[in-house]
Every structure is written in structure tokens, then in C-alpha cells.
């Protein structure tokens, strides 16, 4: 009996000893990586850098045109009487009725900071990883450029914003130190862009086309300086950009042709591909009137509804083009023809190049291009009293093409600073129409309040559906409200109404 007892007890002890191996409780996920195992090698960093571009592409689908273009006088929306689902999210952005709880504003904020976090993860870990200097420089440059891109969007839309420059590794570190002053945000942007300009290559091989380049960083830096009214500094960097080998496309329309991606005029463009749904663009669909069926898109398998009929050119925009401007027909259509005849609803057609599969297009979205660079340079020169030089770039012969209506229009000859300023602004509006520059240009040049109020009066006359409270534009309304969620959770101060 006793012996048995010992045997059994011994067995039990053995079981306890063998059973409690510590590793039994240590389990790493088998189908996902963790931060503990990633960010360790050059290959990891390369993938993480690629990952930094993704939020830009995703935001290009809605956020950038919604807040950069549709908020301006260039575009509005087609009133969808049946489906009011996106009234508060999108229509209100156009109508200056957006409140602090709008999801569209929250999305802009959230996606921007998610992108910034990706950049911080790379910048925080790249230092300790062994790889060739050229790669390290390129990666650092790319990611610095992307981080500046996000902050430049945020600071122009919200004003003071939290400045997050380090990886957050636990919930305890999640709260920011509050909204950093605009000046501080710009200082960070400028530092990042200078770093990027210094470290990025001028050009990549064809397989890397689409990565940020020195030209991209410098162009953005110039726009930052111009936003800060530092036209001299802007002119200096822009003059460097024009030495980098860019040239204008002779045919305006072909700039946006997916068969001509990353062409000689392109400085930085968001890369899309129709091969997979997550990679594809769909601007053609989003900007087509929702009542156009498959007439505009040519795609019978993709239904139209609440997600269509956005970024519709306004009457004011249609009237802006001078007679004979070839860019008008390349950029927009005044309506479409279906079984009922001609339907007078204009739409943006710059990005209409057919589809690869239902709902998927192959079209890229250009952020900066050489024509923009030349127009910026002209503006800087005019602002610094060098009107004659400005005209040289405006009526430029670089690459043998003229910007002005792509050769169809007479050159600009005014030299009076104010008149030239207007001429350049007009040129920017039509040349860069629907490329998400108009809102920022209006704000940067101090014209937003006047232009948008006048635009509101016109819109209300033309469109009975616009509420009386719409388009009451004041200086405060030029900044978006900080998302209410962040006011409470991140302890942030709200913008004045």
C-alpha cells in the first residue's frame, strides 16, 4: 500500500514538473507578424517604407479631393434626392456646414495620423539596422517626405495639430501633448522636407517609378514656403527643381493617361493599379453623375448610387475657361447623353480612361507636376517684384510647349503685379483643375472668404436644395473643426466656430 502511494505520488510530481514548462504559455501568432519580430532587417524596412505609401493612396480616394477640391468653388455635388445618406459627411463639406462629429473629418484626421505612425515606426528603427547608405538615405528621405505630406495636409486643414514624431508603443503613450502651434508644425515639415531633398535620388529606375524624389520633396517645400509667404525661399528651391530634367507634356490630356504614368511632367503621383481591388482607383465612377448609368463609365456591371455624383464642376468653374482653351474639354464634360437625350449635369473627366475590371480603374492621381512647379515659380517671382522673369516661366518654352491652354491661347503679357497675380491664379485654377489644389490656393492667397461667399450666393441661386445656413463663410470656417472624439479623448482644444 505504502509503495503504491509513493509510486503514484512520484508520478504526479513528475507530471507537475513536466507539465509546467514555461514555453507552454509563450505563443507568437503564426499567421501575423508582431512588432516584436518585425522592423529588424533591411528587407523589413523596405516593406515598412512601402507600407508608408498606402495611406496616401487610400486618402487619395476620398479625403484629398473632398477637402482639397470639393470644398472650393471648383466643384460641388449632384443632389441625390433619394439617397440622403452622405448629406452630413460630404454635402456639408461643400456647404460649410461640417460639424465636429462628421465622420469625414474624423477619417481625414485618423488616416493622416495612421500614416504618420507608419513613418515614425520606420524613422525610429532604421538607425540601428545594417544596410547600404544609399538605401538608408533613400528610405529615410521617402518616409520624411510622406510624414511632411501628412502634416502639411493636417496643418492647412486644422491649424494647430498634435505633433507626433515617435512611435507609440503602448496605450499609456497614446495621448498627445496637445495641439502644437502652427509654426512648430511647419518647422517640422520644413525640416523633414529638407532632409528628404538632401537624401532622395532625382530619379529611379522604371521598377521604382512612383517613389518620392528630390523633385517631389523640393516642390512640396516650395509650396510650404509659399503658404508661409516666404516667396524668396520658395523661388530658390523651385529653381533647383527646374534643373532636374522635368518637361511638359505637349498634349494636356495625355498627362493623365494611365498608359503614360509617371511621365516627364509628373513630379509626384499616387500610384494605383487595376490588377487588384485594393490597389485600384475609381475616380471615374466617383465623379460620374449617379444618374448616368453606364453612359459615362461604360461599365454596365457597376451600379451607381450614393457613392457617385461627387466633385461635380460648378457653373462658375465651367465659365472660368477662356474660349479656345483645349484644357476644358480634356478636364470636364458639360453633361451626358442617355436614352432621354442630353442631360445637363457636368462631370470631371480628366480621370476617365476606361476600366480594367468592373469598378476598378488603372488611373494614377498626380499630386505635383511640372506645370505646377512653373506656375509656382512664376507666382514667387511676381510676389518678389520680378514680374518680367515670371512671364518668362509662364509663357515658358522649356520642353518646347507652352502652359497656356497648351499652346492654344495667347501668352500672358501683363506686368502689373496685381494683374499678373490674378492672371497666375486664373492659370492655376484651370491648369490644375480637379487636382486638389484650388482650396489650398484660395486659403494661401487670402481669397477664400470672399470667393467662397460669392460662390455661395451663386450656388443658392442655381440650386434650390442648398440650405439657407450653407456658405456662411468666415475666417474661422477656413479651418475644419477638430473631431469631437479627439477633443475629448486627446484633450484637444476646439477651433473657434
Amino acid at each position: 500500500m505504502k509503495k503504491q502511494l509513493y509510486n503514484i505520488t512520484g508520478l504526479l510530481v513528475l507530471l507537475l514538473v513536466f507539465g509546467c514548462k514555461k514555453s507552454f504559455l509563450e505563443m507568437d501568432p503564426q499567421s501575423t507578424l508582431t512588432a516584436g519580430t518585425f522592423f529588424k532587417t533591411a528587407s523589413d524596412i523596405k516593406q515598412a517604407v512601402n507600407g508608408c505609401y498606402i495611406p496616401l493612396r487610400d486618402m487619395g480616394r476620398i479625403d484629398y479631393w473632398l477637402f482639397g477640391e470639393m470644398r472650393s468653388d471648383n466643384t460641388g455635388f449632384q443632389f441625390n434626392k433619394e439617397n440622403r445618406g452622405l448629406e452630413t459627411q460630404r454635402e456639408f463639406v461643400d456647404e460649410f456646414l461640417t460639424g465636429a462629429t462628421a465622420e469625414s473629418v474624423l477619417d481625414l484626421w485618423q488616416r493622416s495620423y495612421s500614416g504618420i505612425s507608419n513613418c515614425n515606426d520606420v524613422l525610429g528603427s532604421i538607425g540601428g539596422i545594417t544596410m547600404p547608405d544609399s538605401a538608408k538615405n533613400q528610405y529615410t528621405g521617402e518616409v520624411s517626405f510622406i510624414r511632411a505630406f501628412h502634416y502639411f495636409t493636417l496643418v492647412r486643414q486644422f491649424g494647430d495639430v498634435p505633433l507626433r514624431l515617435k512611435s507609440v508603443n503602448s496605450p499609456a503613450e497614446s495621448r498627445s501633448e496637445g495641439r502644437a502651434k502652427t509654426d512648430m508644425v511647419y518647422a517640422t515639415i520644413i525640416a523633414d522636407l529638407k532632409e528628404a531633398s538632401a537624401k532622395l535620388p532625382v530619379k529611379y529606375g522604371s521598377t521604382d517609378a512612383g517613389r518620392a524624389t528630390r523633385g517631389a520633396a523640393e516642390t512640396m517645400l516650395a509650396e510650404v514656403y509659399m503658404t508661409r509667404k516666404q516667396f524668396d525661399s520658395a523661388a530658390t528651391v523651385l529653381k533647383d527643381v527646374i534643373t532636374l530634367g522635368y518637361s511638359l507634356q505637349a498634349d494636356y490630356k495625355s498627362i493623365f493617361d494611365p498608359a503614360n504614368k509617371n511621365n516627364s511632367e509628373s513630379v509626384f503621383e499616387l500610384q494605383y493599379s487595376g490588377i487588384l481591388p485594393e490597389l485600384a482607383s475609381s475616380f471615374m465612377y466617383t465623379f460620374a453623375p449617379y444618374t448616368s448609368g453606364s453612359v459615362v463609365t461604360g461599365d454596365v456591371n457597376t451600379g451607381m448610387g450614393v457613392d457617385n455624383g461627387w466633385n461635380i464642376p460648378t457653373q462658375d468653374m465651367l465659365d472660368t475657361y477662356e474660349a479656345g482653351d483645349k484644357r476644358k474639354d480634356a478636364s470636364l464634360a458639360t453633361g451626358f447623353t442617355d436614352a432621354t437625350g442630353f442631360v445637363n449635369i457636368p462631370y470631371v473627366k480628366k480621370y476617365n480612361w476606361g476600366f480594367v475590371a468592373p469598378g476598378r480603374t488603372n488611373v494614377n492621381f498626380i499630386v505635383y507636376r511640372y506645370a505646377d512647379v512653373l506656375l509656382m515659380l512664376a507666382e514667387c517671382l511676381n510676389e518678389t517684384g520680378q514680374g518680367a522673369q515670371a512671364l518668362h516661366y509662364l509663357n515658358d518654352v522649356f520642353g518646347g510647349a507652352s502652359i497656356r491652354g497648351r499652346a492654344a491661347l495667347a501668352p500672358i503679357t501683363v506686368t502689373d503685379q496685381t494683374q499678373l497675380r490674378e492672371a497666375i491664379a486664373h492659370e492655376r485654377r484651370v491648369e490644375l483643375a480637379f487636382e486638389n489644389h484650388r482650396w489650398y490656393d484660395l486659403v494661401r492667397t487670402g481669397k477664400a472668404v470672399d470667393v467662397m461667399n460669392a460662390h455661395g450666393v451663386q450656388e443658392k441661386q442655381l440650386k434650390s436644395f442648398i440650405p439657407a445656413a450653407a456658405f456662411q463663410v468666415t475666417a474661422n470656417k477656413l479651418l475644419l473643426p477638430v473631431p469631437q472624439r479627439e477633443v475629448s479623448i486627446d484633450n484637444l482644444q476646439q477651433n473657434p466656430l
Binding site: F24, M27, L33, L279
Partner: protein, 1034 residues
């Protein structure tokens, strides 16, 4: 377990006596005589089928229909009488050869042995709050799962019938909701095997078990009984014991029922008929023109709406998708056993067609329990495979599922056109979809599941009173589902067909094993000290793999398998694992059967928690005092039992994701030079400090029985504080992440539970009542460092719907306070407005007083889902061979957020709406009911949540009425086949009494968290089920 008899002679003497008797028996073995007798129940009714055995021999007989038996036994032999549902009884043969033996039903017996964690205990010795149900309490309820059968039966166990989906699960909460982010489902333990279970409204992990195989259910509520489950015990524990073989003759039981189910008329959506809807749409145009001072011409009104009187009732799509559906169940149970080997085998088949067309659930279950002993070794094996097929649709998915669009589709369109189903349903300016009947028939999901449970154990008595038991338990699940979406059928909001055919396939398999070693010491020392101690070591691990494939670009609808698809749009494959390593110990001690002590401790190590906090220890202590055994109360003849109990302990909740302590890195691709460039980035924020939430609970209780046990009462008071709550907290977006799991906050649940059992009549006519009622109060004591409220939920407009704040219950409804509509220009001019408000549009309270109505800023607490109390009552009547039982349960003081108003009240004109909208504001002269706004502009605010969407959710439901008839023994005895035969008929969900306008106030939105309780969003309707059934024994 031992039954301690109160004997006048000292125990040692008795043993000697027994020994002598035994010797005598041996010697006098030849001196057999015929013993005859009658076995009766406590009311004097003859019991047929009672097994009478002469202990220590193989001699055994069964009583006849008249309860009589006769066998050969010697004087001094011990006869044992065993019958299911009754306490075993032993009797020593004396001079009397014609005996009358009374057996006492189990429930009435104080010495009842109940299953507790890691063992059994006499009810009398319990110190914790433990409730027990036996098969007879639940047998009449026709349901696939045990969960639905528990409703209304136990105080403090709130079972909500949230869905009627065949094969779906109920929501079970024990003592309120003690967690806001880690789930509040209790832990389910089947025959000692703790299952991982997360309930879904369309899937129910308890479907693994045929409820007919269940012998008893024990619910552990207080910490002294749950703390031994450590990091998993905080939400309470439900122990399920299945039937096992018993010594005695072979017994074959067959049970079967069949019936039909119908959706009651009450609570079906009250939508406009065709004429009303055409009129509504016509007036919409008229009112729109009038608001601009114009009058429309015929051309301005779509042709379909110009002449409403041309329509009659039109189509009620909701009624069209419903049907009367059959439900049936067959169960065969064979038990056989001798002294050394006992076995039980059961087979079951359950078949429920859904009350929504083309849905249903079928299940085959099998179970084999074998147990045997060789000397001091006891071995057992238990196998329980089950296979089920569920046909479902994408139910309970906001307003896009078929039951929703069957409410809002145009009533103008007929179901059939030219003898065929109308393919696409829409009217001008409305959302459309394919015919709901086509959608149900062709776009359903077919889900097949195989589940198996296998357990094996060996128990060895090392020395007297000391046993070691080792068991290995394995559960295996294999599930596959498939959905094919053909080209000619589209869902809501989609363009007209044809669509590109696509499919969705899932494969899931999971293995969970538990290895457990227990050492039990059970000793009675002298007369006074009774000791039961266990120590144990357990290791458990689960591995699961979940694979899903979306495939599209099928060339046509002919072949559905994935190989026919040209494109795989998405494919995922996820492997998840967790492990748990534990040590546990418990001591039960009683002194003179009066003073009771229970102490437990468990130490858990879990793979789910951060390396900084991987191990936790959970102690508890309970004490009890059987006061009625004290000398000073023994003379009180009417008092049969009085026990005071008290307990305090700590338990945990580990229900979070498996790897949440670490930041995940997820894939994402970009394109450079037109070529895919793989990328990765962090997809979640980890928390290395993550640990379980812990729950400290005290409980004080009284058990009493009076008047010959005709009335028994149990009252419990409890107070539970959950700290370090696990929840997915919203965090500052500037961190780059939206939320992260944290341990934070503190929640209090306190309450009173009362259960009364009463034998009202016990003569020819019998009547018993069991009643329970529970009051739970839920209060948030702390949330986070700043105690910011947690806003949660999402309305149709993207605003929050619930708020959780300190000093309040979890998840109160949060929205606008509705004041009516802007009745006239004066009202409009003088009231705060939103940007888009117009005359006649909805008028809300300006909560922040800034003159502008805005979401969130003008939100207030507008109600709560938590009830004041829940209750249940079962009345059982008997007369001669008839029995009748009625189960009623109710919830009082709760509120429901009717989220379906998002479309039921959507006045945009794109949906059909309820008839309430007929009373809308049209102009100051026709202001309607003053609550329903105009169809002119300003509709956006009306789509947000407001106090107008909150309704009283109190109800009383007659859950089940069953009438049975037990065939008299004299009829049966002639057949020589049946030992017992009972016929019965029942109605499940017979009636509901409620003010709620929807069908089911006991509802919750599918997939909602504890932070968002009480939402009603078109769940699968609950059916009323009529059944007839038979139970027989052979």
C-alpha cells in the same frame, strides 16, 4: 457521496453489527425466503420500473405496473431500491416479508448531491450560491440548445431569447454584466471540460450537446464556487452533467416530439400598404411643391404614385418570407449497468425548419458513456460526436439583411408577375433589391459542422479515502460554410442584375485539449469532522484555424465550386492559439454537519496576457451554518431547514483576443512602376501590461425550508466589483491607432436573488410553484484616468448611440431629446434649430443651450436597457395521470432602443415606412400627431437616435405550457413492452404581454458589445411552437 444517518448507536458499534450481519448472511445463505412488497412515491402512488437489487448479489427485479415486486432474499440481506428521479434507498430484510417502501423524489431531498466544480457535494454542505436544475425541469421546452431551456428557471440567471435563428444561441448573463469589453458569457463546463464558447446569435457553441442527454445543470454564481475556475470564473459558471450508466437492469427510453412553429401576429412590422404608400409618395411631392409656394402637375408625380386608389393592400413582403414550419426531435437513450461496468448510449435527431423560408437546422447527436471498475481502479470513456447542418441567410446585419429589406421594399410590386416571381422589386425613387424569396432561396449560406467531445479518465484509490484521478479531454470542431451569389440575384441597393457571380467559402477547425490531474481526499473523522480536499493541476490548449475565400468572376451560374471562379478577391487564413496552465486546491470541512467551511485557490497562467502579468492567483472562502440542526431550533417543528451562508472571493475574466498584448504587423501592398510592391505596417497597438480583469464578490445567503418542506426559500445578497476591466478603449487617434485593449475602470454589480419553491397541494390534486426573482444594480465606479465617459455604438448618421459614465449603469442610451416637430412659423422662429431644419421638421431639445441643434453636443441620456428586476415562475399541476406545467418569465423596467426605426421611420421616401408616418406634419393646418415630421428637407436629424426611439421593454412571457398524460400502469402491463408511457402536448412562447411595439423586447443587436445593450434591429423572429410528444421506457 456518503449519506450521514442519524443513528442512535455509535458508528463503531454499527460497523461491528453490520459485519456480524454480513457474516450471518454468508452463513445463512441457504436460508432464502420470498420477500414481496410495493414501492410507492412520497404521495403513495405506485412506482413502476423501480430496480430492486439484493446488494452483493446479482439478484435483481423490477417493480411491475402496480409497483409490486417479489424476490428471494435472506434475512439480513440489504435490498436497494433505485429509480431515476428518486433518492436510492436501502433496506435490511427482517421478519416482515411484505414491505411497503416509499421513495423520496430527489428535489425534495435535503441530502441531494449536487455537481460542483471538480466534484460533488451534498447540497446541505454547500457554502456558495449554487442553483441546480434536473432534466425534469427542462424536458418540456422544445429547443436545440440547453441555453434556451434555462430561461426563467434560476434567480439571477438572465437568459434572453435574442434571436429565433434555428441553431442560434441565447444570451446568458449571470448576476448582471460585469465586463464591458471582455464578454459577459458564463463559462460552460460539460462533464468537467471547460469549453471555450463565445455566443453568436447565429451560432451556438452549446449545440454540441443534445439537451436530452443532460442529467443536471448546476449554476455557480458566487465567488466561493466560481473562484476555482480562476481567470475564467468571473461571469459565473454553468456545469452540465450528462447522463451516465447506472447499476440495474437495462433501460431503454425513447422520446419524440413533433410540432409546428409560427411567428405570432403581434409585433410584426406595421408597414404601409400599397395604397397608403402611393398616397404617401404623392403627398411628398405635393408638400415639397407647397413649401416653395407651388402646386405640382401630374407630370411632377411619378406615374406609379398618381392614383393611389388603384392599389389595394399590395404586397406585405415580411409576411411573404414567413411560413409555418415543422420541428421535430427524436431521442433514444439506453442505459445498462452492473456492479463493474455501466454504460449509457444515446442517439438524437433534431430537425427544425425555420419560420423564415429556406432556413433551418438539423442535428444528429450521439453519446456513449462507459465506466467500469477493476478493484480500486475506475476507468471511464465518454464520446459525443455531433453533426449539424444549418441553412441560414445573412440575418441580423443592420438594414441590409433580407428580413430588413422585406420590410422596406415597395408594397406596390406584386410577388408574382405572369406566374413567376417578380425578379426585381422597386418603385420610382426607392431602393430596390431582388425578390426576397429569390434571395432566401438562392443566396443562403449552408453551414455544416462536425463537433466531437471525447474524454477519458482513470481514477485510483491509493489508500482508503485518497483518490487520484487523471483525465484527458479533447474537443474537435470542423465547420465549413458556403454561399454562392448567382448572376441573376442582387441584394439591396445594388444595381439591376445581372451581377457577376461570386462565392464565399469558409473552413474552420479547432482542437481543444485539457489534461487534468486531481488528488482527492475524502475523510470522516469520528462523528464530528468531515473533510474533503482536492488539489489539482490542469493544462489546456486550443488551436484553431480559420480560412475564408471570396471568389468572383464566375463565367456563369452553372458550377459553384471555387475552381470555376476566375478571380480570388480575398483569401485569409488565421491560426489562433491559447494555453492555460493552472494549479488548484479546495478544502471542504464540516463540523458536526453544522459548521461548514470551504476554501479554494487557483493559480492560472495564460498565454493571452502580457509577459509582465502572465500569472494570477484567485482565492475564495465560504462559510455556512446549518442553524436548524442546532439544539435550540430542533424543537421548532415547522422549521425543517435553516442555513446561513457567506462567501468572499476573487475570480477573473480572460476573454480577449489571443495576441492582443503585442502589436500586430499587417500586410498591405502598393504599386511602383506598375508592379505590386509588398508592404507592411503595424495594424494594432499592443499592451504588454495586459492582464485579466478581476472580480471580487461577496455573497450572503439563507436557505430555509418549512412546514414539512412544503415551502423552501433561498435568498442571496451579493456585491461584485470588477476591477481592471478589459476593454478595447478608444485612444487618441494621434497615436496612429483607434483603440487598444487596456485594463481600466471599475464596475459594481449588486443585487438580491430570491427563489421560492412551494408545494401548494399534495393530495389527489397536486400543485407546486417555483418562483424566482432577481434584482441587479449595475453601476460604473471608475473608467479611466480622467473618467471620461465611453461613447459607443453607431447610429445611421454615424453618431454615438450609447454612453457609459461613472455613477451610471453600463451603456445607457444616448441621443437627442425629442420634443415634437416645428408646428408653425412662430414655433420655428422661436426654437433652436439645426443647419438643415425646416418648418415641420423634427424638433429636439437644445441640451447645451447654444441655440444650435448639433449631434453629440445636444445628446443626453435617454434611457437604459438594464431592467429593475427579472423573474420566472413555474407552476406544475397533477391530477391522477395528468400533469400540467406553465413556465412564465418576465423582465421589468427595461427599455429598448428600436434601432430599426432608422428605416421604419425613414421619411426620405426611399423605404416603405410604418403607418405611424401617416400622421406626419404636412402644413400648419395639417400638423399630424405633432411627433412625426414633414417629408420636406431637414430630414437628416430625424435619422439620428432620439428619445422617440426608446420604448418600454418590460414584458411577461408565457414561455411554455405543457399538458401530459401518463398511461396508467394497468394498461401498460398488458402490453408487456412499455414500462412507462407519457403523452404530452406543449406550446412554447405562448403569449407575451408587453407595451413594446416590436416583436421581442428581450432583444439585442447581433454582434453588439456589452457597451451597447438593448438595440432592436430586425432579428430573426421568435416562433410560437406547438408540439405533441411522447416519452416511453421499455
Amino acid at each position: 457521496m456518503k449519506i450521514t444517518l442519524k443513528l442512535p448507536v455509535p458508528r463503531r458499534t454499527l460497523l461491528l453489527l453490520l459485519l456480524l450481519l454480513g457474516l450471518c448472511t454468508l452463513r445463512l445463505a441457504a436460508q432464502q425466503k420470498t420477500i414481496a412488497g410495493t414501492v410507492q412515491d412520497d404521495k403513495g402512488t405506485a412506482l413502476a420500473g423501480v430496480t430492486v437489487t439484493v446488494s452483493g448479489t446479482k439478484a435483481s427485479v423490477v417493480t411491475g405496473a402496480d409497483g409490486r415486486f417479489s424476490l428471494q432474499a435472506a434475512t439480513g440481506a440489504v435490498l436497494s431500491f433505485a429509480y431515476v428521479g428518486f433518492e436510492d434507498r436501502k433496506l435490511t430484510v427482517g421478519s416482515n416479508t411484505n414491505l411497503t417502501i416509499q421513495l423520496i423524489p430527489v428535489a425534495a431531498n435535503l441530502d441531494q448531491v449536487v455537481v460542483i466544480a471538480y466534484g460533488k457535494q451534498q447540497k446541505k454542505d454547500l457554502t456558495g450560491s449554487v442553483a441546480v436544475l434536473s432534466q425534469k425541469d427542462i424536458k418540456n421546452v422544445p429547443a436545440a440548445g440547453i441555453d434556451q431551456k434555462l430561461a426563467g428557471q434560476i434567480a439571477g440567471v438572465q437568459v434572453a431569447d435574442v434571436t429565433g435563428t434555428p441553431g442560434g444561441g441565447a444570451s446568458i448573463k449571470i448576476r448582471g454584466s460585469g465586463s464591458i469589453g471582455a464578454g459577459d458569457d458564463p463559462l460552460f463546463v460539460i462533464d468537467g471540460f471547460a469549453l471555450t464558447s463565445s455566443f453568436g446569435q447565429t451560432s451556438n457553441p452549446l449545440n454540441i450537446l443534445n439537451p436530452d442527454d443532460i442529467e443536471s445543470v448546476t449554476v455557480l454564481k458566487d465567488a466561493s464556487s466560481t473562484a476555482i475556475y480562476g481567470s475564467r470564473g468571473a461571469n459565473g459558471v454553468v456545469l452540465i452533467t450528462t447522463k451516465s450508466g447506472k447499476s440495474g437492469v437495462a433501460k431503454l427510453d425513447v422520446g419524440a416530439y413533433t410540432g409546428w412553429q409560427q411567428v405570432p401576429k403581434k409585433g410584426r412590422p406595421d408597414m404601409m400598404d400599397a395604397r397608403q404608400f402611393a398616397q404617401f409618395r404623392k403627398e411628398m411631392v405635393i408638400d415639397d411643391f407647397a413649401s416653395r409656394g407651388l402646386t405640382p402637375t401630374d407630370a411632377d408625380i411619378p406615374e406609379e404614385y398618381r392614383n393611389p386608389d388603384a392599389y389595394g393592400k399590395g404586397t406585405d413582403w415580411y409576411n411573404e418570407v414567413l411560413r409555418t414550419a415543422p420541428q421535430s426531435n427524436v431521442n433514444v437513450n439506453l442505459t445498462k449497468g452492473g456492479e463493474n461496468v455501466r454504460s449509457a448510449i444515446s442517439l438524437g435527431y433534431f430537425d427544425q425548419e425555420g419560420v423564415v423560408r429556406y432556413t433551418g437546422y438539423k442535428r444528429f447527436t450521439g453519446r456513449a458513456n462507459v465506466e467500469g471498475n477493476i478493484g480500486k481502479l475506475r476507468l471511464g470513456l465518454n464520446l459525443a460526436p455531433s453533426y449539424s447542418v444549418q441553412k441560414r441567410n445573412d440575418f441580423e446585419r443592420d438594414f441590409v439583411d433580407v428580413l430588413s429589406f422585406a420590410q422596406w421594399l415597395s408594397p406596390l410590386v406584386p410577388v408574382y408577375t405572369d406566374g413567376k416571381r417578380t425578379p426585381y422589386i422597386t418603385s420610382p425613387g426607392m431602393f430596390g433589391s431582388s425578390n426576397p424569396l429569390d434571395w432566401l432561396q438562392y443566396v443562403g449560406t449552408n453551414d455544416k459542422q462536425f463537433k466531437g467531445l471525447a474524454t477519458a479518465f482513470a481514477e485510483y484509490e491509493i489508500i482508503k479515502d485518497l483518490k487520484v484521478k487523471y483525465s484527458i479531454n479533447v474537443s474537435y470542431t470542423n465547420e465549413q460554410s458556403f454561399l454562392f451569389n448567382p448572376s441573376n440575384i442582387v441584394g439591396p441597393f445594388a444595381a439591376l442584375p445581372p451581377d457577376i457571380p461570386n462565392s464565399f467559402t469558409t473552413r474552420y477547425n479547432a482542437t481543444n485539449w485539457l489534461s487534468e490531474a486531481l488528488l482527492t481526499y475524502d475523510k470522516t473523522i469520528g462523528r464530528d469532522h468531515k473533510l474533503n480536499a482536492i488539489i489539482g493541476y490542469t493544462a489546456q490548449k486550443e488551436t484553431s484555424e480559420n480560412l475564408g475565400i471570396n471568389a468572383t468572376d464566375y463565367p456563369d451560374d452553372k458550377i459553384h465550386t471555387i475552381n470555376a471562379a476566375a478571380t480570388i478577391t480575398t483569401a485569409y487564413d488565421d491560426i489562433q492559439e491559447w494555453s492555460l496552465l493552472s494549479y488548484l486546491a479546495r478544502l471542504n470541512y464540516s463540523f458536526r454537519n453544522k459548521y461548514l467551511l470551504t476554501a479554494t485557490i487557483r493559480s492560472d497562467g495564460s498565454s493571452r496576457f502580457g509577459s509582465n502579468n502572465r500569472y494570477g492567483t484567485f482565492p475564495s472562502v465560504g462559510i455556512g451554518w446549518n442553524m436548524s440542526d442546532e439544539r435550540f431550533l430542533r424543537s421548532v417543528s415547522w422549521l425543517n431547514e435553516l442555513k446561513l451562508r457567506g462567501s468572499y472571493g476573487l475570480s477573473g475574466n480572460f476573454n480577449i483576443g489571443n495576441y492582443t498584448y503585442t502589436s500586430g504587423v499587417g500586410p498591405g501592398n502598393y504599386v511602383f512602376g506598375g508592379v505590386l510592391a509588398p508592404g507592411r505596417s503595424r495594424s494594432s497597438l499592443g499592451n504588454p501590461d495586459l492582464t485579466w480583469e478581476s472580480s471580487k464578490q461577496w455573497d450572503a445567503g439563507i436557505d430555509a425550508a418549512v412546514f414539512n418542506r412544503r415551502i423552501s426559500l433561498t435568498v442571496d445578497l451579493y456585491h461584485r466589483i470588477t476591477t481592471a476591466m478589459l476593454y478595447n478603449s478608444q485612444i487618441a487617434l494621434s497615436s496612429g491607432f483607434q483603440n487598444a485593449l487596456i485594463n481600466s475602470g471599475k464596475i459594481l454589480n449588486k443585487g438580491v436573488e430570491i427563489a421560492v419553491n412551494s408545494v401548494n397541494l399534495k393530495d389527489a390534486f397536486t400543485w407546486t410553484t417555483s418562483f424566482n426573482i432577481a434584482f441587479n444594480r449595475n453601476k460604473v465606479l471608475a473608467l479611466n484616468d480622467k473618467n471620461d465617459p465611453i461613447l459607443s455604438g453607431r447610429s445611421g448618421e454615424g453618431s454615438y448611440t450609447h454612453i457609459t459614465q461613472v455613477g451610471h449603469p453600463i451603456g445607457e442610451f444616448y441621443g437627442y431629446v425629442k420634443q415634437g416637430v416645428y408646428m408653425d412659423q412662430k414655433d420655428f422662429d422661436n426654437s433652436p434649430k439645426a443647419a438643415t431644419s425646416v418648418l415641420g421638421s423634427v424638433k429636439y431639445k437644445d441640451v447645451d443651450g447654444n441655440g444650435i441643434i448639433e449631434p453629440v453636443k445636444d445628446f443626453a441620456v435617454i434611457g437604459r436597457a438594464q431592467p429593475d428586476f427579472t423573474w420566472g415562475m413555474t407552476n406544475s399541476f397533477g391530477y391522477k395521470n395528468f400533469d400540467l406545467s406553465v413556465i412564465v418569465n418576465g423582465v421589468q423596467g427595461s427599455q429598448v432602443f428600436k434601432k430599426a426605426n432608422q428605416y421604419l421611420h425613414n421619411i426620405d421616401g426611399v423605404f416603405n415606412v410604418t403607418r405611424e408616418m401617416l400622421n406626419r406634419w404636412r402644413n400648419p393646418q395639417q400638423p399630424g400627431d405633432g411627433q412625426t415630421p414633414t417629408t420636406n428637407g431637414g430630414r437628416v436629424l430625424y435619422r439620428d437616435i432620439s428619445s422617440g426611439d426608446i420604448e418600454n421593454g418590460s414584458f411577461m412571457r408565457i414561455r411554455n405550457i405543457t399538458l401530459g398524460y401518463q398511461l396508467p400502469p394497468r394498461l401498460l402491463s398488458r402490453s408487456h413492452v412499455f414500462k412507462a408511457l407519457r403523452l404530452y402536448t406543449s406550446v412554447q412562447n405562448a403569449f407575451i404581454f408587453t407595451k413594446y411595439s416590436g416583436a421581442n423586447p428581450d432583444v439585442n443587436r447581433n454582434g453588439s458589445s456589452a457597451l451597447e445593450p438593448g438595440e432592436d434591429f430586425t432579428n430573426y423572429p421568435l416562433a410560437r411552437t406547438y408540439t405533441i410528444g411522447v416519452n416511453c421506457s421499455f
